[in-house]
């Protein structure tokens, strides 16, 4: 796309000796999005899916993936041996410990932003918004990259039912526009406007849709426009999307499977997520709030980590049994981790300098650990990465080139910040 007059190359921005925070693209007036396409990646990414387990509020790395028993910062819980020799996790995660074979733990995140709103946006977008560029979140990017324009299922579904922290959800399609935004489930596990109103019968509903379709076809004659095409496509998808409502209904699932995931809201949503990706939804986020344990960190984690352990292990088992794990990436991520220091209320506060996340399944080296924190968990000792490299790694694992450009007006905007390299050690 360098033929666009006035375009600059992204690398120059990376090379700039100052932090690039510039205002671009006129508050989005020229949000002409065009991606380079038809490359090898287009084949590699086919059929890939993502489930993001979003631990809202900030889960503690000490009580999950990076325990420090014995250290002053370690807290009361022990660590246990995992299925990978030499790798230990918190004793609160026995099931994941036994099935680490599909999972790569990343213990070396330094993301610098320890504020709920900013942290959530950073960890959902892989970068900070610029003054006048609203970046799309991971789900919207993947909806665009992995979605099918005629799909009968949604492109991006996001569950976040707890009221705490809903304002910090970090989701949003940014400059990609509403077309790629999330179907948000904030109130219940049934999406809005997906079911037919009682005031109209099924046959009338179909009839009036057919009548609409006939106006549409007549109008399209002799007119060519992408916006017009999207209108027709959006209405054409209505029927399929309404059908997809059954995916949200767990009564269609066997009792055995439901029991395996457990009766918790988190378990049920994870199961819905599996049903959705199985039906072709490219990206599902399951939000579990609220991990913000400024007080009583250990009680909070004693209650929440076993649930995470159970749901995550069950989900991976289920995906594995269905042969879906090689094409489905399960991400466990928060907006930040928690402080090594244990405060007077026996809590841990916000901490973004040395924390953990995990990637399982599609495209990653299972049973591995990347990066290391120091003995007390104060700092990253090895393999430090920020949000940008994590995102580049995620995109690469899905067969998407992290440096692929969208265009905002004439300015090329790569999927991750210019020059960002994926972490090779994590990638299978």
């Amino acid at each position: 796309m360098s033929s666009i007059p006035g375009s600059c190359t992204p690398s120059e921005h990376a090379a700039s000796r100052r932090q690039f925070l510039g205002a671009a693209a006129a508050s989005g007036i020229t949000a002409m999005v065009s991606g380079s396409s038809a490359l090898a990646g287009e084949v590699a990414k086919r059929g890939k899916r993502v489930i993001l387990l979003w631990l809202a509020g900030g889960a503690s790395q000490f009580e999950t993936f990076d325990p420090k028993p014995g250290a002053v910062t370690g807290g009361p819980f022990r660590s246990i041996q995992t299925s990978t020799s030499g790798v230990r996790v918190s004793e609160l995660m026995p099931r994941m410990a036994a099935r680490l074979k599909d999972t790569c733990l990343i213990r070396s995140l330094n993301t610098k932003n320890a504020d709920h709103g900013g942290g959530a946006e950073l960890m959902m977008r892989g970068r900070r918004d610029e003054a006048s560029v609203r970046y799309p979140d991971m789900g919207s990017v993947l909806a665009r990259e992995l979605g099918d324009s005629e799909s009968k299922v949604p492109d991006y579904v996001s569950f976040y039912l707890q009221s705490e922290g809903q304002g910090f959800s970090g989701t949003g399609a940014g400059f990609l526009g509403a077309r790629f935004g999330p179907m948000q489930l904030h109130k219940g596990t049934t999406p809005e406007n997906l079911s037919r109103l009682d005031t109209i019968s099924a046959s009338d509903f179909a009839d009036r849709m057919a009548l609409r379709e006939s106006w549409s076809r007549a109008f399209e004659k002799g007119r060519v426009s992408a916006a017009l095409g999207s209108h027709q496509q959006a209405f054409a998808r209505v029927g399929g999307l309404m059908e997809s409502q059954k995916l949200f209904d767990l009564s269609n699932e066997s009792a055995k499977t439901r029991e395996a995931y457990g009766p918790t809201q988190f378990g049920e949503q994870a199961l819905i997520a599996r049903r959705l990706v199985e039906a072709g939804v490219p990206f599902v986020r399951v939000g579990r709030a609220w991990w913000d344990s400024h007080g009583q960190n250990f009680e909070t984690h004693q209650e929440m980590v076993p649930e995470l352990d159970h749901v995550m292990a069950t989900l991976l088992d289920d995906l594995g049994q269905r042969g879906m794990l090689k094409d489905t990436l399960v991400i466990t991520l928060s907006e930040f981790g928690r402080t090594p220091n244990i405060n007077a209320s026996l809590g841990r506060d916000h901490f973004a300098s040395a924390w953990s996340c995990s990637l399982s399944g599609c495209g990653v080296v299972g049973g591995s650990v990347y990066g290391k924190t120091d003995d007390r968990g104060d700092k990253v000792a090895e393999g430090e990465i920020g949000a940008a490299r994590l995102f580049a790694t995620i995109y690469k694992a899905l067969g998407i080139n992290p440096q692929k450009n969208y265009h905002l007006g004439s300015r090329p905007v790569p999927l991750t910040d210019p020059g960002t390299e994926p972490v090779k050690e994590v990638l299978a």
Partner: protein, 541 residues
């Protein structure tokens, strides 16, 4: 050093101002322009048609009267025509009937409201229209674009006539880089954010010096509580891509410079005293006094000066052209520079000259465009491939803005009497806000998402009284009481799409109603829905 926060350093007073040798946007002086006394619509037709001849382009046929009336109503007043307007226009056989409609729409209060709303969105990208009160006043009083620019830059809240202007700068002042670029895009048509990090690779016009030069004019502006204040000193220093840290000059995009306004940089003691004063203003919640010399006022003066005003003259012309024709004379809109020439250089130069020589009269600019034959072409192009957008040989589809969509839905549900058009339009606008929030803002790459289609198909808000009200003056009621199915069909199509039903449509609709005999009103509602959910309704075509 943190350059973002705009650090203030003692400045070295510039000894000499270098002459601006930089290349201007487009060399207007080399173009041969039609006579300035011609009416704008004639010049538009003449120059666009010349392009067709040169390219061998076959333009689309003229849009029919109903199509044209709907288009011009949406573009001028933001709403679809009402029944009486459609009927009157069809009945009028006089040759000047289009001009009459344009005059009458532009004289209506909805014209000011719609144009103010559009300008507000252009300037702030905030759907709550924070500049609404000011812009409505400014447009109602027919203030020129130059004056609006000046008033927004000076932001004098104390003066009743410019009350409500401060929000423009305040919205952006915490990020001076954004403020600099936003002002550059909105008023000069150029996005210079590339030049923030490096000299522009393709545009010899812009170096980092230009970005930081323009930023200098804003670097003295800051917030004091709810007020905006400006120091009379302060310069921007930046670390160039190559070489040592530099002090930016007060420089416009053209390279023209001015000496730093004010009495020079202060001593440390003065700075301390100033900081104290700021604290006092904050505490006492008082408006800080104006600086002895305002850098922002200098920018206005420079940008509007005879030698430098080409950027200013052209930016809004291109923006309004884009809004009326669905494609700019220069695309992207924020790349109006020497390396990205307009599709019709003479036309842009002529319109810019006309705009500037007629007091930056926005209504005149709009009127010229909508009065042209080019504006009145059909959006349908039969046979062969459609000519490229920049030939303006076929009208483009423009998605309705959230307010246009909501007002259209409201108006479509009403039966409007000939004497109450203005009143009903206001009523529709007032009740449309909530509905407008359900539709996404439009952009150059706009696409309709499934959420919108699902909302229209299954949303209780969309399917209830809000969109299908009943009553003596409502479409649904009138339609269900009509004497025949043919009459119902015509009523529905006229009410929703602002045109009579064509033969096929009338029989489709009549059949539909016949096939749903159980509840005729429900059948009518479904027919109205199908028309509202059609692309013909969704777009200004």
């Amino acid at each position: 050093m943190n350059l973002r926060s705009g650090t203030f350093r003692l400045s070295v007073i510039m000894a000499a101002l270098m002459a601006a040798a930089g290349s201007l946007a487009f060399a207007a002086e080399d173009l041969v322009l039609p006579s300035p006394s011609l009416p704008p619509e004639k010049v538009i037709d003449q120059l666009v048609e010349a392009g067709w001849k040169e390219q061998g382009t076959m333009p689309a046929a003229p849009a029919d009267d109903f199509n044209w009336l709907r288009r011009v109503s949406l573009d001028l007043t933001g709403r679809i025509p009402t029944g009486p307007e459609v009927a009157a226009f069809a009945a009028d056989k006089s040759p000047g009937k289009k001009s009459k409609v344009i005059e009458s729409l532009m004289a209506s209060s909805a014209f000011v409201r719609h144009q103010a709303r559009e300008l507000d969105w252009y300037l702030t990208r905030d759907k709550n229209s924070p500049l609404s009160a000011y812009l409505n006043r400014a447009l109602a009083e027919k203030r020129g674009w130059d004056r609006i620019f000046k008033e927004l830059m000076l932001a004098n809240e104390a003066d009743a006539s410019t009350k409500g202007t401060t929000v423009y700068l305040k919205q952006k002042v915490r990020d001076l880089d954004r403020l600099t670029n936003d002002v550059s895009v909105a008023f000069f048509g150029v996005n210079i954010s590339c030049a923030q990090c490096h000299d522009h690779p393709l545009v010899s016009d812009w170096k980092q010096d230009h970005f930081y030069g323009l930023k200098s004019f804003f670097s003295r502006t800051f917030e004091v509580g709810e007020f905006l204040a400006e120091r009379d000193y302060g310069v921007v220093r930046f670390l160039p891509n190559k070489g040592k840290e530099k002090q930016a000059e007060f420089m416009f995009l053209t390279g023209a410079k001015v000496a730093p306004p004010g009495a020079g940089e202060p001593t440390k003691d003065q700075q301390k005293a100033d900081a104290k004063k700021v604290e006092e203003w904050k505490k006492s919640k008082t408006q800080p006094p104006a600086p002895s010399a305002s850098a922002r006022a200098k920018l206005v003066e420079l940008a509007l000066s005879a030698k430098e005003k080409e950027f200013f003259d052209k930016a809004l012309v291109n923006q309004v052209w884009y809004r009326m024709f669905g494609h700019g004379l220069v695309m992207p809109l924020d790349q109006m520079h020497s390396e990205n020439p307009p599709s019709h250089p003479e036309l842009l130069a002529w319109l810019a000259r006309d705009f500037s020589s007629h007091g930056y009269d926005i209504p005149r600019l709009i009127k010229g465009m909508v009065s042209s034959r080019v504006y009145g072409l059909s959006s349908r192009h039969e046979g062969g491939s459609s000519p490229p957008a920049n030939q303006f040989a076929v009208a483009r589809l423009k998605p309705l803005t959230p307010m246009q969509m909501a007002v259209a839905l409201k108006l479509a549900g009403m039966v409007v009497g000939a004497s109450e058009v203005e009143k009903k339009v206001e009523e529709a606008e007032r009740s449309a806000r909530g509905l407008a929030d359900q539709f996404p803002p439009v952009s150059e790459d706009f696409q309709v998402g499934v959420a919108e289609a699902l909302f229209m198909a299954n949303g209780s808000r969309f399917n209830g009284n809000e969109v299908f009200p009943e009553g003596a003056d409502k479409l649904l009621t009138a339609m269900s009481k009509a004497p025949s199915d043919d009459a119902r069909a015509d009523m529905a199509v006229r009410g929703v799409l602002a045109r009579p039903a064509v033969a096929d449509e009338a029989s489709f609709i009549a059949n539909y109603i016949k096939r749903h005999p159980g509840d005729p009103k429900e059948a009518c509602r479904q027919v109205i829905w199908s028309l509202m959910a059609s692309p013909e309704f969704r777009f200004n075509y």
